[in-house]
């Protein structure tokens, strides 16, 4: 069986699949890949099911030695590695893959044909970093066995892969308390704050006024834009709390979740309002692209 030896883990590298569903009523959010589009594409390119466990690297990549041969792909952001992105690449026994600092975006996925053979916790291999559910970030010396769960042949290089540019436009639909707010969210740009993490993306920019409504703690979905008392929005991310008491003017659309995963501190973003039908049409287009791989 082939294995990966972690020579250097990078800044924050974790095993991720598409998340752990069915436990939100215990306060456990799904976690899963921060850029699910890159993870799914990476898995499809090497011939895996799209949900196979892979490595998510954050801001600075790691160094990995392969024991045995492997077919891998790097998808998401460019982490200054020697292999091309968005295509399957054969790795020889003993070869080392070195990834460096992100040249753009925040996350890069290393998918391996056959998937990582790691234990599942509550049906998922995803590490929930904040709580330790599903494991912990990689450390030097960790060894990851490669599985044999490939489902088809590796694919041709992906064409038209999504690219993260400095300024992201996040499309949103109305949140449950949208009526309490005016246009403030959409008039200016916001900057991603350093304290952002997999729980939430904290923004700074034009403060949202405190709405007058009476808010009772309620369930919150992925991508919800919360307005806390200081008016600086927080976008709930993959390790988000399952319930919350702040009003929510908007919700980032599913087709833009991958953009959230590629935001890095100090990036500029702006919000745009679209209709529910528009959001679903954009999601269909994105799925079409994935199925073209």
């Amino acid at each position: 069986m082939s294995r990966i030896h972690v020579l250097a883990p990078g800044f924050l590298t974790t095993v991720q699949d598409l998340g752990r569903f069915g436990y939100a009523h215990f306060g456990i959010s799904a976690s899963g890949a921060a850029d699910p589009l890159a993870l799914r594409a990476g898995n499809l390119l090497v011939g895996n099911a799209e949900n196979a466990p892979a490595l998510e690297m954050t801001l600075t990549g790691g160094e990995f030695a392969f024991e045995g041969t492997a077919v891998i792909s790097l998808t998401g952001s460019d982490f200054a590695s020697s292999i091309p992105l968005w295509q399957p690449v054969e790795i020889r026994n003993g070869e080392t893959l070195t990834c460096g600092p992100a040249r753009s975006g925040a996350r890069c996925y290393l998918s391996i044909r056959g998937g990582l053979d790691v234990p599942l916790m509550m049906g998922s291999a995803s590490v929930h970093v904040m709580t330790g559910v599903g494991g912990r970030p990689l450390r030097r010396g960790d060894v990851l066995p490669i599985g044999d769960r490939a489902v088809r042949r590796p694919r041709k290089p992906a064409l038209g892969a999504p690219a993260h540019r400095g300024m992201a436009c996040l499309r949103t639909t109305a949140g449950p308390q949208a009526r309490w707010f005016g246009d403030e969210l959409y008039t200016g740009g916001y900057r991603v704050r350093e304290e952002s993490n997999r729980m939430g993306i904290r923004l700074e920019g034009p403060a949202l006024p405190s709405p007058g409504g009476h808010m009772i703690t309620e369930g919150v979905p992925l991508g919800a834009v919360q307005a806390p008392p200081d008016g600086q929005p927080i976008v709930l991310f993959v390790e988000h709390q399952t319930t919350g008491g702040y009003p929510k003017p908007a919700n980032v659309i599913s087709a833009d979740f991958w953009r959230l995963g590629q935001l890095r501190p100090r990036d500029e973003i702006r919000f745009e309002r679209i209709t529910m039908e528009g959001a679903l049409a954009l999601l269909r287009d994105q799925e079409e692209w994935l199925y073209s791989l």
């Binding site: 569903f21 069915g22 436990y23 939100a24 009523h25 215990f26 306060g27 456990i28 799904a30 916790m121 509550m122 929930h128 904040m130 709580t131 330790g132 559910v133 639909t173 949140g175 449950p176 729980m199 009476h214 009772i216 703690t217 309620e218 369930g219 919150v220 979905p221 992925l222 991508g223 919800a224 709390q241 399952t242 319930t243 919350g244 929510k248 919700n251 659309i253 599913s254 529910m276 959001a279 679903l280 999601l283 799925e287």
Partner: protein, 251 residues
């Protein structure tokens, strides 16, 4: 249960003023259905709402909804809260209208389902000192002695309205109104695991170390959630909880 032994210790120490059970075991009859409003709140979720009044009736309706939607194909996650349930679904497989129809159909077919019998737990608590650094502040704010704060806190029965926030945090109703104390102006970066807390009119227990803005009055060594084990966690929606003061030093 070992906590029963501790109750004897408690009785020498404190005079318990018996409060009536404010959460009757079952007041809702099969077939009672509160009107539910259903609203899309993202392109992959619906919020099922039972109004904006926190009540035991609304809680029972939330329990019933959560129960009847458990394990339904096409529903990814359920987030129950005080008066609502958020339903996450996969928008590639289901539309909002389809999920709404599914929810209404399940509500109708499960209208006779009774909520599970409540389970009762006693949680041993080391109050005050370094286990409860805000006990003094709660006493000052409420105008009570620390001893009285502990007596009142430990005399009440609490209802687990729901479990949520960040990992198995039980939202407890039933805090004696005299003990209500506002949250900290600036949340702590680190709240130790097992901290027993008051946040305005609510009570809770931090299952894992995390940031938090509630007032910490004590700590339990009971493990509410172990990340290396699969759920369910110790406390679940609908359970009843009492706190039992313990005198020994920190475990």
């Amino acid at each position: 249960m070992p906590v029963l032994v501790l109750m004897i210790v408690l009785e020498d120490l404190y005079e318990i003023d018996e409060r009536p059970d404010i959460f009757p075991t079952r007041i809702c009859h099969p077939g009672d259905v509160k009107p539910v409003t259903i609203q899309p709140v993202s392109d992959r979720s619906l919020l099922l709402s039972l109004g904006d009044e926190i009540s035991f009736d609304a809680h029972l309706a939330v329990v019933r909804l959560t129960q009847c939607l458990q394990g339904v194909r096409g529903i990814l996650n359920l987030h129950p809260a005080y008066t609502s349930v958020l339903v996450d679904f996969d928008p590639r497989l289901r539309s909002h209208a389809q999920v709404e129809a599914l929810v209404r159909e399940r509500m109708a077919s499960h209208a006779d389902q009774l909520p599970p019998e409540p389970r009762r737990f006693e949680i041993p608590v080391h109050y005050g000192g370094e286990n409860g650094p805000d006990l003094g502040d709660v006493a000052r704010h409420t105008g009570l002695t620390e001893r009285r704060v502990v007596e009142l806190h430990a005399a009440a029965e609490y209802l687990v309205y729901f479990v949520g926030f960040a990992t198995c945090f039980p939202y407890l109703g039933g805090l004696p109104p005299e003990l209500a104390t506002p949250r900290l102006a600036a949340p702590r970066k680190y709240v130790p695991e097992g901290s027993v807390a008051i946040g305005a009119e609510q009570a809770g227990i931090y299952p894992l170390a995390s940031p938090g803005g509630w007032r910490l009055i004590g700590r339990t060594h009971l493990k509410l959630f172990d990340p290396s084990e699969s759920p369910p966690p110790l406390l679940r929606m609908g359970d009843r909880v009492r706190f039992v003061p313990v005198r020994e030093a920190q475990p």
